[in-house]
Protein backbone atom coordinates (compact mmCIF):
# COMPACT_ATOMS: atom_id res chain seq x y z
CA UNK A 1 0.00 0.00 0.00
CA UNK A 2 1.44 3.38 -0.98
CA UNK A 3 1.95 6.16 1.54
CA UNK A 4 -0.28 8.42 -0.54
CA UNK A 5 -3.09 5.87 -0.13
CA UNK A 6 -2.76 5.83 3.63
CA UNK A 7 -2.24 9.49 4.40
CA UNK A 8 -5.52 10.84 3.12
CA UNK A 9 -7.28 13.33 5.35
CA UNK A 10 -9.93 10.88 6.58
CA UNK A 11 -7.35 8.33 7.69
CA UNK A 12 -5.28 10.91 9.54
CA UNK A 13 -8.42 12.22 11.25
CA UNK A 14 -9.53 8.70 12.08
CA UNK A 15 -6.16 7.83 13.62
CA UNK A 16 -6.01 10.95 15.81
CA UNK A 17 -9.58 10.55 17.05
CA UNK A 18 -9.15 6.81 17.60
CA UNK A 19 -6.04 7.30 19.72
CA UNK A 20 -7.81 9.94 21.82
CA UNK A 21 -10.82 7.61 22.25
CA UNK A 22 -8.74 4.63 23.35
CA UNK A 23 -6.77 6.73 25.84
CA UNK A 24 -10.02 8.17 27.21
CA UNK A 25 -11.61 4.73 27.49
CA UNK A 26 -8.58 3.39 29.35
CA UNK A 27 -8.78 6.31 31.75
CA UNK A 28 -12.49 5.62 32.33
CA UNK A 29 -11.76 2.09 33.52
CA UNK A 30 -8.58 2.91 35.48
CA UNK A 31 -9.05 6.30 37.14
CA UNK A 32 -9.51 6.55 40.90
CA UNK A 33 -12.00 9.40 40.77
CA UNK A 34 -15.62 8.89 39.72
CA UNK A 35 -16.08 12.44 38.42
CA UNK A 36 -12.91 12.16 36.36
CA UNK A 37 -14.22 8.90 34.91
CA UNK A 38 -17.41 10.70 33.86
CA UNK A 39 -15.41 13.49 32.21
CA UNK A 40 -13.17 11.02 30.36
CA UNK A 41 -16.32 9.29 29.19
CA UNK A 42 -17.34 12.61 27.63
CA UNK A 43 -14.10 12.51 25.59
CA UNK A 44 -14.88 8.99 24.36
CA UNK A 45 -18.47 9.84 23.45
CA UNK A 46 -17.44 13.01 21.59
CA UNK A 47 -14.85 10.98 19.70
CA UNK A 48 -17.55 8.46 18.80
CA UNK A 49 -19.65 11.34 17.43
CA UNK A 50 -16.69 12.40 15.28
CA UNK A 51 -16.32 8.85 13.99
CA UNK A 52 -20.00 8.82 13.08
CA UNK A 53 -19.39 11.92 10.94
CA UNK A 54 -16.49 10.12 9.24
CA UNK A 55 -18.92 7.27 8.58
CA UNK A 56 -21.32 9.74 6.89
CA UNK A 57 -23.93 9.51 9.68
CA UNK A 58 -24.37 13.15 10.61
CA UNK A 59 -27.84 12.68 12.13
CA UNK A 60 -26.52 9.99 14.46
CA UNK A 61 -23.60 12.24 15.39
CA UNK A 62 -25.92 15.05 16.44
CA UNK A 63 -28.14 12.59 18.31
CA UNK A 64 -25.09 11.23 20.09
CA UNK A 65 -24.03 14.70 21.21
CA UNK A 66 -27.51 15.62 22.41
CA UNK A 67 -28.49 12.35 24.11
CA UNK A 68 -25.17 11.12 25.48
CA UNK A 69 -23.12 14.22 26.17
CA UNK A 70 -26.18 16.32 26.96
CA UNK A 71 -28.44 14.01 28.95
CA UNK A 72 -26.67 10.82 29.98
CA UNK A 73 -23.59 12.60 31.33
CA UNK A 74 -25.75 14.91 33.42
CA UNK A 75 -27.49 11.82 34.80
CA UNK A 76 -24.12 10.26 35.63
CA UNK A 77 -22.89 13.37 37.40
CA UNK A 78 -26.18 13.58 39.33
CA UNK A 79 -25.85 9.95 40.28
CA UNK A 80 -22.28 10.53 41.46
CA UNK A 81 -23.19 13.55 43.52
CA UNK A 82 -26.28 11.96 45.09
CA UNK A 83 -24.48 8.79 46.13
CA UNK A 84 -21.40 10.07 47.89
CA UNK A 85 -20.46 12.62 50.47
CA UNK A 86 -17.07 13.69 49.14
CA UNK A 87 -15.98 14.18 45.55
CA UNK A 88 -12.40 13.13 45.08
CA UNK A 89 -10.08 10.18 44.79
CA UNK A 90 -11.26 6.98 46.44
CA UNK A 91 -9.67 3.71 47.37
CA UNK A 92 -12.09 0.85 46.91
CA UNK A 93 -13.51 1.37 43.43
CA UNK A 94 -12.14 -1.95 42.19
CA UNK A 95 -12.84 -5.55 43.04
CA UNK A 96 -10.34 -7.40 45.18
CA UNK A 97 -9.73 -10.11 42.60
CA UNK A 98 -10.57 -7.91 39.63
CA UNK A 99 -7.18 -8.57 38.03
CA UNK A 100 -8.80 -11.61 36.41
CA UNK A 101 -10.47 -9.09 34.08
CA UNK A 102 -7.18 -8.29 32.35
CA UNK A 103 -6.52 -11.73 30.78
CA UNK A 104 -10.19 -12.03 29.87
CA UNK A 105 -10.18 -8.69 28.05
CA UNK A 106 -6.88 -9.39 26.30
CA UNK A 107 -8.01 -12.84 25.15
CA UNK A 108 -11.32 -11.44 23.92
CA UNK A 109 -9.51 -8.66 22.05
CA UNK A 110 -7.06 -11.08 20.44
CA UNK A 111 -9.91 -13.33 19.30
CA UNK A 112 -11.85 -10.45 17.83
CA UNK A 113 -8.85 -8.91 16.06
CA UNK A 114 -7.87 -12.26 14.51
CA UNK A 115 -11.44 -12.85 13.35
CA UNK A 116 -11.74 -9.36 11.89
CA UNK A 117 -8.39 -9.66 10.16
CA UNK A 118 -9.51 -12.95 8.63
CA UNK A 119 -12.91 -11.72 7.58
CA UNK A 120 -12.35 -8.24 6.21
CA UNK A 121 -8.65 -8.19 5.52
CA UNK A 122 -8.26 -5.16 3.26
CA UNK A 123 -11.83 -4.40 2.34
CA UNK A 124 -12.17 -0.73 1.44
CA UNK A 125 -15.04 1.62 2.08
CA UNK A 126 -15.35 3.07 -1.40
CA UNK A 127 -15.44 6.85 -1.52
CA UNK A 128 -18.30 7.04 -4.05
CA UNK A 129 -20.64 4.57 -2.38
CA UNK A 130 -24.28 5.70 -2.08
CA UNK A 131 -24.68 7.60 1.16
CA UNK A 132 -27.58 7.05 3.53
CA UNK A 133 -29.72 10.13 3.95
CA UNK A 134 -31.65 11.01 7.09
CA UNK A 135 -34.81 10.79 5.05
CA UNK A 136 -34.13 7.13 4.35
CA UNK A 137 -33.58 6.52 8.06
CA UNK A 138 -36.89 8.13 8.96
CA UNK A 139 -38.64 6.18 6.19
CA UNK A 140 -37.33 3.02 7.81
CA UNK A 141 -38.25 3.98 11.37
CA UNK A 142 -41.80 4.89 10.40
CA UNK A 143 -42.01 2.10 7.82
CA UNK A 144 -40.80 -1.44 8.29
CA UNK A 145 -39.37 -0.78 11.76
CA UNK A 146 -42.53 0.87 13.13
CA UNK A 147 -43.36 -1.95 15.54
CA UNK A 148 -39.94 -1.87 17.26
CA UNK A 149 -40.33 1.90 17.43
CA UNK A 150 -43.60 1.50 19.35
CA UNK A 151 -42.01 -1.07 21.62
CA UNK A 152 -39.15 1.32 22.24
CA UNK A 153 -41.59 4.07 23.15
CA UNK A 154 -43.10 1.81 25.79
CA UNK A 155 -39.63 0.86 27.02
CA UNK A 156 -38.78 4.53 27.51
CA UNK A 157 -42.13 5.19 29.22
CA UNK A 158 -41.68 2.21 31.52
CA UNK A 159 -38.11 3.27 32.28
CA UNK A 160 -39.19 6.80 33.17
CA UNK A 161 -42.03 5.60 35.41
CA UNK A 162 -39.82 2.93 36.93
CA UNK A 163 -37.05 5.39 37.69
CA UNK A 164 -39.51 7.74 39.41
CA UNK A 165 -41.06 4.91 41.44
CA UNK A 166 -37.66 3.57 42.48
CA UNK A 167 -36.11 6.87 43.44
CA UNK A 168 -39.17 8.35 45.13
CA UNK A 169 -39.07 8.88 48.87
CA UNK A 170 -42.41 7.92 50.39
Amino acid sequence: MLASDVLVAQNVGFAIIAVIMVIGALRVVTTKNVVHAALWLVVVLAGAAAQYILLAAEFLAVTQVMVYIGAVMVLFLFGTMLTRAQIGAEKDLNNKNGIIGLPIAVLLLATMLIALNDGFKAEKLSADAPLVSTQQVSDQIFGIYLLPFWALSFVLLAAAIGAIVLARRD
Binding site: A25, L26, D92, V132, Q136, A160, L166
Partner: protein
Protein backbone atom coordinates in the same frame (compact mmCIF):
# COMPACT_ATOMS: atom_id res chain seq x y z
CA UNK B 1 -10.66 4.21 4.47
CA UNK B 2 -10.64 0.55 5.30
CA UNK B 3 -13.69 -1.12 6.79
CA UNK B 4 -11.44 -2.90 9.25
CA UNK B 5 -10.13 0.20 10.97
CA UNK B 6 -13.59 1.03 12.30
CA UNK B 7 -14.32 -2.57 13.28
CA UNK B 8 -11.02 -2.82 15.13
CA UNK B 9 -11.66 0.44 16.97
CA UNK B 10 -15.02 -0.99 18.00
CA UNK B 11 -13.37 -4.21 19.18
CA UNK B 12 -10.81 -2.32 21.27
CA UNK B 13 -13.49 -0.17 22.91
CA UNK B 14 -15.65 -3.25 23.55
CA UNK B 15 -12.82 -5.06 25.32
CA UNK B 16 -11.97 -2.02 27.43
CA UNK B 17 -15.64 -1.88 28.43
CA UNK B 18 -15.68 -5.58 29.33
CA UNK B 19 -12.55 -5.07 31.43
CA UNK B 20 -14.27 -2.19 33.22
CA UNK B 21 -17.39 -4.24 33.94
CA UNK B 22 -15.30 -7.04 35.44
CA UNK B 23 -12.80 -4.99 37.40
CA UNK B 24 -14.95 -2.20 38.83
CA UNK B 25 -16.90 -2.45 42.08
CA UNK B 26 -18.61 0.93 42.12
CA UNK B 27 -22.02 0.61 40.43
CA UNK B 28 -21.82 3.99 38.67
CA UNK B 29 -18.50 3.02 37.08
CA UNK B 30 -19.94 -0.29 35.90
CA UNK B 31 -22.76 1.62 34.19
CA UNK B 32 -20.15 3.85 32.47
CA UNK B 33 -18.33 0.76 31.18
CA UNK B 34 -21.62 -0.51 29.76
CA UNK B 35 -21.94 2.79 27.90
CA UNK B 36 -18.51 2.15 26.36
CA UNK B 37 -19.68 -1.26 25.14
CA UNK B 38 -22.87 0.15 23.61
CA UNK B 39 -20.90 2.85 21.79
CA UNK B 40 -18.52 0.35 20.26
CA UNK B 41 -21.52 -1.57 18.95
CA UNK B 42 -22.86 1.62 17.36
CA UNK B 43 -19.57 2.24 15.54
CA UNK B 44 -19.76 -1.29 14.11
CA UNK B 45 -23.37 -0.85 13.00
CA UNK B 46 -22.60 2.40 11.19
CA UNK B 47 -19.47 0.99 9.53
CA UNK B 48 -21.47 -1.91 8.07
CA UNK B 49 -24.23 0.49 7.08
CA UNK B 50 -21.74 2.51 5.03
CA UNK B 51 -20.29 -0.66 3.54
CA UNK B 52 -23.65 -2.04 2.44
CA UNK B 53 -25.21 1.29 1.50
CA UNK B 54 -28.41 0.51 3.39
CA UNK B 55 -29.97 2.58 6.20
CA UNK B 56 -30.62 -0.39 8.52
CA UNK B 57 -27.49 0.23 10.57
CA UNK B 58 -28.51 3.83 11.22
CA UNK B 59 -31.93 2.71 12.44
CA UNK B 60 -30.49 0.11 14.78
CA UNK B 61 -27.93 2.58 16.11
CA UNK B 62 -30.71 5.05 16.94
CA UNK B 63 -32.59 2.29 18.78
CA UNK B 64 -29.44 1.35 20.67
CA UNK B 65 -29.01 4.96 21.80
CA UNK B 66 -32.62 5.06 23.02
CA UNK B 67 -32.29 1.78 24.92
CA UNK B 68 -29.02 3.01 26.47
CA UNK B 69 -30.74 6.16 27.71
CA UNK B 70 -33.53 4.12 29.31
CA UNK B 71 -31.00 1.75 30.84
CA UNK B 72 -29.00 4.57 32.42
CA UNK B 73 -32.16 6.11 33.87
CA UNK B 74 -33.32 2.91 35.56
CA UNK B 75 -29.78 1.93 36.51
CA UNK B 76 -29.03 5.16 38.29
CA UNK B 77 -32.40 5.05 40.08
CA UNK B 78 -31.43 1.59 41.35
CA UNK B 79 -28.00 2.84 42.42
CA UNK B 80 -29.67 5.70 44.29
CA UNK B 81 -32.02 3.29 46.06
CA UNK B 82 -29.13 1.04 46.99
CA UNK B 83 -27.18 3.98 48.41
CA UNK B 84 -30.19 5.10 50.42
CA UNK B 85 -30.74 1.66 51.93
CA UNK B 86 -27.15 0.68 52.72
CA UNK B 87 -24.96 3.80 52.40
CA UNK B 88 -22.74 2.21 49.79
CA UNK B 89 -22.71 1.62 46.04
CA UNK B 90 -20.32 -1.33 46.11
CA UNK B 91 -21.69 -4.23 44.10
CA UNK B 92 -19.91 -6.71 46.40
CA UNK B 93 -22.17 -5.64 49.27
CA UNK B 94 -25.21 -7.13 47.51
CA UNK B 95 -24.58 -10.69 48.62
CA UNK B 96 -27.89 -11.88 50.08
CA UNK B 97 -28.33 -14.41 47.27
CA UNK B 98 -25.19 -16.25 48.33
CA UNK B 99 -26.08 -19.42 50.22
Amino acid sequence: MLLNQFLMLGAVLFCIGVYGVIVRKNAVLVLMSIELILNSVNINLLAFSLRNGTPDGHTFALYVIAVAAAEVGVGLAMVLLMYRNRRSVGLDDLSEMKG
